[in-house]
Structure formats: structure tokens, C-alpha cells
């Protein structure tokens, strides 16, 4: 009862224009809220896409349509998450109503519609909450600084590319070769020293395709931090890298051990000589460090020759023994065989004699000749 009275109390008895306006406004707000609750998909009339009919299409047409649907999905996803576009049902409704109004007025002019749509959108953007505005502002700020940085980078690249051929020629060929090799996949090493990194980055940016290499570690690590001495290090070497599947270096001809021994002895003589000897020993040390086997110690070579000789001797001995045993076994078998054959013949003869004698050996036989 009380409730009813309260409801009744809300309705004014005399409808003054101000009250009417507020009333209408309240009702309209209420309806707007209801409309917002309904997803736009169900509420708005589906006029844009005529119901697509897929089964009757040819293969190429189906492909096209599929691509189109994929694009539509992506587009709708992007639009859904775009904070500047209208997402609520109410806004979409308003937009569609405005569109209808415009289309009914000027039907031919598509451009005008587009412009009007943009205007509508702009107006809607203006209606948006401060949040969107703040986001827009912040996004506006960032491109500016990015642009600035990019411009600087470009200028720097141009500068350095102009003067690139005037690099100092002190770099060794080897390093240059290595750099060419390592173009493909090298990871960037950095420290947070903006200026240096950027400089060197630009310097090597031209050299590499995909990857950017950075030379700027050294200054940060050296103990003496002379800022005015910041030179661009031009020599960086990396660990061992294999690019092709199998890089066959030229196989050095393998000399026989005696020849190697002679060569080693000669090298020893050369080593005594200071100049050439130094060269020879450095060369040997470098190739040893790289893993190649260098045979230049006559003592070891002699040992190895001796070992080989012993091995050969042993093998010879083994072969001789084997031959002996084989021959012996063969002879044994042969003799056994011939023995067996003889036995057999002998046995045969004996059997025959037996048979003959059996007839004459019966008891009481007197006709036997021998005694």
C-alpha cells in the first residue's frame, strides 16, 4: 500500500512543462540504459550485409569470401578494442539513425556520406570520456619524440656513410674477412650507454643486413674512463663460427714420418737462427693453438717412428706364426688322412684273408698246408 502510494506520489498532478521535460528526460535515460544492456548485434537492424550464401559458390569465390570474412573478423576485433570508436549500443544506434537520415537526404553523394560519417565520429569522439582524450594526448606525444630520434638516426647514418671509405687501413685482412663471415647471425651486446651505442650502431648499421652489431662495450669496461679518448674500436673478433656445411680447407699432403723427421730437424736448425726462427716458432704456436697438429719435435717423431717399427715387427711375427700353424695343421691333417686310408686298405685285405682262412680253420680239418 505504501509502495503504491509512493509510486503514485511520483506522478505529478499538474504537468508543468519543466516537470514534463524532466520526466521525459528520466524516461529517456531509463530507456537508454535498457538499450545499452542489449548487445548491438541483436538490437540494431542488420542491413549492411545481405545474408551471405556460401554453398553455391565456386572455389575461387569461396576463397575470396573466406579471405573477406577473415579480414572482417580482424577488423571487428580491432574495432572492438579501439577506444575511440563507439562501442555501446546506444552510440551505434544514434550513428545508424544519423546515417539513415543522411542517406535519405542525399543518396548519390557517397563522399558526403563519408564526410558526414567522419563528422559523426568526430562528434562522438568529442563526446568521449576524458580517458580517451588522455590516451590520445599521450599517443600524440610519443610519435613526436620517436620522429625526432629517427631523424637523428638517419642524419647520423648519412654522415657516417659519407665518410665510410676513409676508415683507417690498420685493420687486418683477417678481421675483415671474419666480419664478413659473421654478418648473418650475431647477437647485439649492449650496455646502457646511450650516446656511444648509438654512434657505433650507426657506424656498423651499413655493414650488416638484418642484425645490428654493437662495438660500444669497450669504453665502458676500461678502467681509465677518459671520455675524450672515446675512439671507435674497429676490431672485433668473435668465437668460431661455421657458416657453410663443410668447409674443407686444403688438405696438407701428409709426408711420411721419415720425411717429417728430416723436416723437423731442419726446422730445429732454423729455430736457432733468431729472425727466421722466431717466425717459425710463432707460426707453429699459432697453428697449435688453433688445434692443427704440428710435427716439429724430432724427439717425438723419433719415438713415433720407433713405435711404428715395433708395431710392424710385431705384425710380421704374428703373420709368421700364423703361417706356421696353418702349415702344421695342414700337414697333420694330411698325415692323419693318409694314415686312415692306409689303415682301411689294410683292414680290407685282412678281412679277405680272414674270410679265406675261416673256411679252413674249422676244427678237425687236416688239409691245412702251413704249420
Amino acid at each position: 500500500m505504501g509502495k503504491k502510494r509512493a509510486v503514485g506520489a511520483d506522478e505529478p498532478t499538474t504537468t508543468s512543462p519543466l516537470d514534463l521535460k524532466t520526466l521525459i528526460r528520466e524516461y529517456s535515460l531509463f530507456f537508454d540504459q535498457l538499450v545499452e544492456l542489449i548487445p548491438a548485434r541483436f538490437f540494431l537492424p542488420n542491413s549492411s550485409d545481405d545474408k551471405p550464401w556460401f554453398p553455391g559458390l565456386s572455389k575461387s569465390q569461396k576463397k575470396k569470401v573466406k579471405a573477406q570474412t577473415r579480414e572482417n573478423i580482424l577488423k571487428s576485433r580491432r574495432d572492438r578494442l579501439d577506444p575511440t570508436r563507439p562501442t555501446s549500443t546506444l552510440d551505434l544506434l544514434k550513428k545508424s539513425l544519423d546515417e539513415e537520415r543522411d542517406s535519405s537526404s542525399d543518396e548519390e553523394d557517397d563522399e558526403d556520406e563519408a564526410i558526414e560519417e567522419e563528422e559523426e565520429e568526430e562528434e562522438e569522439d568529442e563526446k568521449e570520456v576524458a580517458k580517451a582524450q588522455s590516451v590520445a594526448l599521450s599517443t600524440d606525444e610519443r610519435p613526436v619524440t620517436y620522429e625526432e630520434l629517427r631523424e637523428r638516426l638517419r642524419r647520423r647514418i648519412v654522415e657516417l656513410s659519407a665518410g665510410r671509405n676513409t676508415r683507417p687501413e690498420s685493420r687486418l685482412k683477417q678481421e675483415r674477412k671474419k666480419e664478413m663471415k659473421n654478418k648473418k647471425k650475431v647477437k647485439v651486446q649492449t650496455k646502457r650507454n646511450q650516446e656511444n651505442n648509438k654512434e657505433k650502431e650507426d657506424a656498423s648499421a651499413g655493414n650488416t643486413g638484418k642484425r645490428k652489431r654493437d662495438d660500444g662495450n669497450d669504453e665502458n669496461f676500461s678502467k681509465n674512463k677518459k671520455k675524450n679518448n672515446v675512439r671507435e674500436p674497429t676490431d672485433i673478433t668473435f668465437g668460431q663460427v661455421r657458416i657453410d656445411g663443410k668447409e674443407n680447407k686444403k688438405r696438407k699432403k701428409k709426408l711420411s714420418k721419415e720425411k717429417e723427421l728430416e723436416r723437423a730437424k731442419r726446422l730445429e736448425e732454423v729455430k736457432k737462427d733468431p729472425e727466421k726462427g722466431k717466425k717459425v716458432s710463432w707460426k707453429a704456436a699459432v697453428s697449435k693453438a688453433a688445434g692443427e697438429k704440428v710435427h716439429d719435435d724430432p724427439k717425438l717423431l723419433k719415438q713415433s717412428i720407433k713405435r711404428e717399427k715395433k708395431r710392424q715387427e710385431k705384425n710380421k711375427q704374428k703373420w709368421r706364426e700364423r703361417k706356421e700353424t696353418v702349415a702344421k695343421a695342414k700337414a697333420e691333417k694330411q698325415s692323419k688322412r693318409s694314415e686312415n686310408i692306409k689303415e682301411r686298405i689294410h683292414q680290407k685285405k685282412m678281412r679277405k684273408i680272414e674270410k679265406r682262412e675261416k673256411k679252413l680253420m674249422r676244427p678237425g680239418f687236416e688239409g691245412r698246408k702251413e704249420a
Partner: protein, 340 residues
């Protein structure tokens, strides 16, 4: 009884712990080359910090080293050599402390050259860990060999060239076409300072971070943990708040790479990723003092301090200044500074 006696008589007790049921490959399947393995051990008695340094170096050389190498007092170099042969160990790293000066010797096993470095300064991995607010060092980092980069070594001198080759061959080669980017997780940097003739040795871990993705989103993707939305009004706030690339975007352009393949969940192919290095492991400052032809034996072909030896640096420069015929190296730069 007999067995006990045998153990007493055994001279070389060099135990190496190999992981159970896992034999380390001798030849790299991909590149076809031999994988270099190393032993890190001490010669003589070492003080505490140096022992720690030895352990740090061992960790650095993983996985192709003997982590739990046990050396006894009576082990000679010969014992190590005997064990190294059948196991395919190619390099020895020896730390010694004669007259309280720490030295590091890097040698190639069978007959190879020995480089002797004097350790001028060093910092242990534990010290570095304490000095960093966020120290990240997982055992997974040590499942693959580190990369190595040398800089400043091209200047001059056969000894520098030898040093580069030596260090390049300590770590196995990588095949560009088939290496997995996610397996390159550590890097060793060597920098040669020509003025002071010192080599800086640093060890870093590599981390890739996608550029242009906010920290929160990245964290959700990497660790599937539900974020805390207590103080937010709306999910969009979570995504758009502080939605800039990263706080430290300063070195953005310089440090980014575009990856050729997917590395892990967040770093995808053809996307820009920033490379972040964090220091782990020991820090060394070395000076090359001696190069010998054999394994701690043989001729000394380079000697830093000895001016009377024929192969010293100063004499080399004198000869070269006089002759000016050898095209190999230009020792003038470091020698000039040395003469100064």
C-alpha cells in the same frame, strides 16, 4: 687387503666426475669439429679467494669441463696429461700463486703453447652477485657454452693474435645455420687495452626482451599468473596504464635486434627484441706475461718484462723500426706507449 695396498700405491688420483649415464660428445654433431674440453685446476696452494676464483672459472667453462675435478697435492702436470688424453681434454687452465702473485695459465694440451697471464685484479662471482640488486643466475644458463667476443686485439703483435686464437678455440664453434638462439645464453667479453696492455675479462648472461610490449603484458605471457587488479576500476586501465615500451627506452634503437626465429614465448620471429646483458661470473684483469712453446715448457717466445731476451717487445720494435720489412704486425702502437 691387496686392493687397499693398491690404492695406497696409486700415485695419480685425479678423479673426474662425469654425469651418470651421460657421455659427453667428442665431436660436435652439427659442425663436425672436435669439441674442446678443458680442465681448470690449481697448481700449488691457493688462498681462499683464489680458490673461489678457480671454482668460478670452472663454472664459466661449463658444460665442457670437469666441474668436480679433484686434485691432490701429489698430482703432477704429467698425471693430468695422462688423464686428459683418453678423455679428449684439449685445454688446461691453471691458477697458481707464486710469491703471492696470482697467475693464470692457459695451455693447449698435447704439446701446445702456454700463455701465462698475471691476474692484476679480480672480482669473484659472489661479490658481483651481492653488488647487483637483481642477480639472476640459474643453472640452466650453464647448459650451453658461452659465446666469446674479443675486441681490441687486432692492434698488433703476434702475441695478441695468438691470444685471440687460443680463446676462440677454447669454446666450441657454432654453426650459424642450425644454432638455436635460445641456447646462446652466456657471453664472455675480452677487451684489450692497448695503452695499459691489460686484458679485461667479463662474463655476462644474455636476456631477450620484446620491445614495444609493456612490462605487465609481458609478465602475464611469460608467467601465466593472474595479475592483481585490486586498485583498478577497469581491465582497460590495466592494459593502458603505463603502457609504454619500457622505462629505459633510451638505448632502444641501438640495442634491438630483429630475430630470425622464435626464441621463446615472448620473443617471436621478425619482432624486435632488446638484448639485455647482466653480469655474472668473475671479472678479471689480466696481463699477458709469457708465451711458451710447450706445455709449461719449451722456448719462451714472448716475454713481457724481460728486456734482455731476444723476443721481448722492445727489441722487436727496434728491429722492425730498423728493417721495416715485415708486413705482419704493427707493433708500433703498443710499443710506443710502452716506451713512453
Amino acid at each position: 687387503m691387496a686392493r687397499w695396498r693398491d690404492r695406497r700405491r696409486q700415485r695419480a688420483v685425479v678423479k673426474t666426475q662425469v654425469a651418470k649415464n651421460k657421455k659427453q660428445p667428442g665431436v660436435d654433431q652439427v659442425t663436425g669439429g672436435k669439441i674442446p674440453k678443458s680442465f681448470v685446476f690449481a697448481r700449488g696452494k691457493l688462498p681462499g679467494p683464489l680458490k673461489q676464483l678457480e671454482l668460478d672459472l670452472r663454472k664459466l667453462m661449463l658444460p665442457y669441463t670437469a666441474l668436480k675435478l679433484k686434485e691432490k697435492k701429489r698430482n703432477n702436470l704429467k698425471d693430468f696429461l695422462n688423464v686428459a688424453g683418453p678423455m679428449g681434454v684439449t685445454h688446461f687452465l691453471m691458477i697458481s700463486n707464486p710469491k703471492s702473485i696470482p697467475y693464470l695459465r692457459v695451455a693447449r694440451t698435447p704439446q701446445g703453447p702456454t700463455l701465462t697471464f698475471q691476474i692484476k685484479e679480480y672480482a669473484l662471482a659472489a661479490d658481483i652477485a651481492k653488488s647487483q640488486p637483481k642477480y639472476r643466475c640459474t643453472p640452466e644458463l650453464f647448459k650451453n657454452s658461452p659465446l666469446i667476443v674479443l675486441s681490441g686485439f687486432g692492434g698488433g703483435g703476434q702475441h695478441l693474435k695468438l691470444t685471440t686464437i687460443m680463446f676462440q678455440n677454447i669454446f666450441p664453434a657454432i654453426d650459424i645455420n642450425s644454432v638455436k638462439l635460445s641456447s646462446c645464453q652466456r657471453i664472455v667479453l675480452l677487451n684489450y687495452n692497448a695503452e695499459e696492455r691489460l686484458i679485461d675479462f667479463r662474463h655476462y648472461s644474455i636476456r631477450l626482451q620484446p620491445v614495444g610490449v609493456s612490462k605487465r603484458i609481458r609478465r602475464i605471457v611469460q608467467t601465466h599468473q593472474v595479475p592483481d587488479l585490486r586498485n583498478l576500476q577497469d581491465v582497460s586501465e590495466f592494459l593502458t596504464k603505463a603502457g609504454y615500451g619500457s622505462e629505459s627506452e633510451g638505448d632502444d634503437e641501438a640495442a634491438t635486434v630483429s630475430l630470425p626465429t622464435d626464441v621463446d614465448r615472448v620473443n617471436k620471429a621478425s619482432n624486435k627484441s632488446a638484448v639485455r646483458l647482466q653480469e655474472i661470473g668473475p671479472r678479471l684483469t689480466l696481463r699477458l706475461v709469457k708465451v711458451e712453446e710447450g706445455l709449461c715448457s719449451g722456448n719462451v717466445i714472448f716475454d713481457e718484462f724481460d728486456t734482455s731476451s731476444v723476443y721481448s717487445v722492445e727489441k722487436e720494435t727496434d728491429r722492425e723500426a730498423a728493417e721495416d720489412s715485415e708486413k705482419e704486425t704493427s707493433e708500433d702502437e703498443p710499443a710506443d706507449s710502452a716506451e713512453d
